[in-house]
């Protein structure tokens, strides 16, 4: 039989029909918000909502890149699977949030050559320069050892779970839906990090020593999670965002529980210094982010129209 009918070909399912689905670096689901109503609710500024969604997305995207770096490097294959799975959940959240941001304000999407097959959320992930990234500095820090990565994941997942739970009530229905789904995922992530933290604290002298070093390195970046910023505050006023500073109580209570179970006192460290009172949310990052972005973006940037 000599039929080249796409519908009959057993290979048809491997390639999607839409042109931009075949961009070499993205995923093949052409629009993660296909059929979702992205109309802005009354009183919500599109540019502000886009920036806010980019903040939440960048936290997840950059954390995912760090988690992915554990592939082939984790202590055991179960932990490798766990870290990669956590990254996959966060990457899914990042993708939906970047797509939501692009729909709320299309002007934020980097311009690409005419006919480019790159969807908006991939353009935002791969073609923005470092100052346009709005992630907190906590997620960009180098992985360090396993204790370091677990300590960072504990702080990040505790903060993000508290934020997403409240964002389930956002007046932006898309953000609310992404957050509500994310809560279920983050609950698993936080439990995973907390259990490993306690295991390392109660392990050997060496594991406890490494955990202590990890806390010293990671905890200075915790304060920044709760710093209010003007975009967030404007959206809080219209019921679309959560005021980060109000999350500190829940964060302290949850990590306090983990520290107590670890027979450890909550750390007293000075917050990492800001740059003219600016930090990650303002596009001011540590050196670590530039190396991370080079690794994450360079191939896509070298082949912006690459398809397969």
């Amino acid at each position: 039989m000599n039929r080249h009918d796409d519908q009959a070909s057993p290979y048809a399912g491997l390639v999607d029909a839409d042109a931009h689905d075949q961009w070499a670096f993205g995923t093949s689901f052409d629009d993660p918000l296909a059929g979702v109503d992205t109309t802005l609710a009354d009183g919500i500024d599109g540019a502000d909502l886009a920036t806010y969604c980019v903040m939440l997305a960048d936290d997840a995207l950059i954390c995912t890149q760090r988690l992915a770096q554990w592939c082939t490097n984790a202590p055991e294959i179960e932990e490798e699977l766990a870290l990669a799975n956590i990254g996959l959940d966060l990457l899914g959240q990042a993708r939906l949030l970047l797509a939501r941001a692009a729909a709320a304000d299309p002007t934020i999407v980097p311009a690409l050559p005419e006919g480019s097959p790159v969807p908006a959320e991939d353009a935002l992930a791969f073609f923005r320069d470092e100052p346009a990234f709005r992630c907190v500095r906590l997620v960009e820090l180098a992985n360090g050892d396993f204790a370091h990565s677990i300590t960072r994941l504990l702080a990040f997942s505790t903060f993000r779970l508290a934020a997403l739970q409240r964002l389930g009530g956002s007046r932006d229905p898309v953000l609310a839906a992404v957050a509500t789904k994310g809560v279920k995922e983050l609950t698993y992530h936080r439990d995973y990090a907390a259990r490993w933290f306690i295991t390392l604290a109660g392990g050997t002298g060496e594991s406890r020593r490494r955990l202590e070093q990890a806390i010293t390195a990671v905890w200075p970046y915790v304060d920044e999670l709760f710093r209010p910023n003007p975009v967030e505050q404007r959206l809080v006023a219209v019921g679309a965002a959560v005021d980060s500073s109000t999350l500190r109580g829940e964060f302290d209570s949850v990590v306090g529980q983990v520290f107590r179970a670890s027979e450890w006192s909550p750390p007293t460290v000075l917050p990492a210094s800001l740059v003219a009172s600016r930090s990650g949310r303002d596009g001011i990052h540590t050196q670590a982010l530039s190396y991370l972005l080079a690794e994450m973006q360079s191939v896509a940037r070298a082949h912006p129209t690459g398809t397969w």
Binding site: S28, A34, L90, Q93, Q165, P173, A177
Partner: protein, 173 residues
């Protein structure tokens, strides 16, 4: 396509959509999995299929979408749109009883009912819950969880102490 009423068309489209299976767990249809949320015909005669992701980053969504489009096109539906529904979020409680039976028959332990979270902060679970999980191979209840994260986003890894076999389980979410 023979002349049919609109209701017949939608019924037939729903039947076709219900034959599409999960790419990772082909023993389950998208209906068994609770991912297929609706099939209807819009005012322009386009068949609109609505699906919801199991996990935010589930890579199988792309395949489900193209499999739905191909199955419906093969059945003679020229215009098909697959839409995403984000709310309400998918729950493992939506896996049908038939789906649970098929999972067990294929060596995957089905999830228990999800514990509903009352209002307030979500509590930490510092000691892994040890739900009673029955080995899908030998039916023993003497099993242990080896990892909370498995081969796909929706599964955890387990081992049976009686028969020694490892097995997957769908997590509660």
């Amino acid at each position: 396509m023979p002349m049919t009423t609109a209701a017949d068309t939608v019924t037939r489209a729903r039947e076709v959509a219900a034959t599409v299976t999960d790419p990772e767990m082909p023993m389950l249809s998208l209906v068994d999995l609770g991912v297929l949320r609706g099939v209807h015909e819009d005012a322009d005669g386009c068949i609109v299929v609505t699906i919801t992701p199991t996990y935010s980053g589930c890579p199988a969504m792309a395949n489900m979408r193209s499999d739905l489009q191909r199955a419906l096109a093969s059945a003679g539906f020229d215009r098909v749109e697959v839409r995403t529904s984000l709310a309400p979020a998918w729950s493992s409680d939506w896996i049908t009883s038939g789906g649970r039976r098929k999972l067990e028959e294929h060596g995957i332990a089905p999830p228990h009912a999800v514990r509903t979270q009352a209002s307030g902060a979500i509590p930490l679970t510092l000691v892994a819950r040890r739900p009673v999980v029955q080995c899908p191979q030998c039916d023993s209840l003497d099993t242990e969880e080896t990892s909370g994260f498995g081969s796909t986003a929706c599964k955890s890894l387990h081992r049976c102490r009686s028969c020694g076999e490892p097995f997957d389980r769908i997590k509660e979410i």
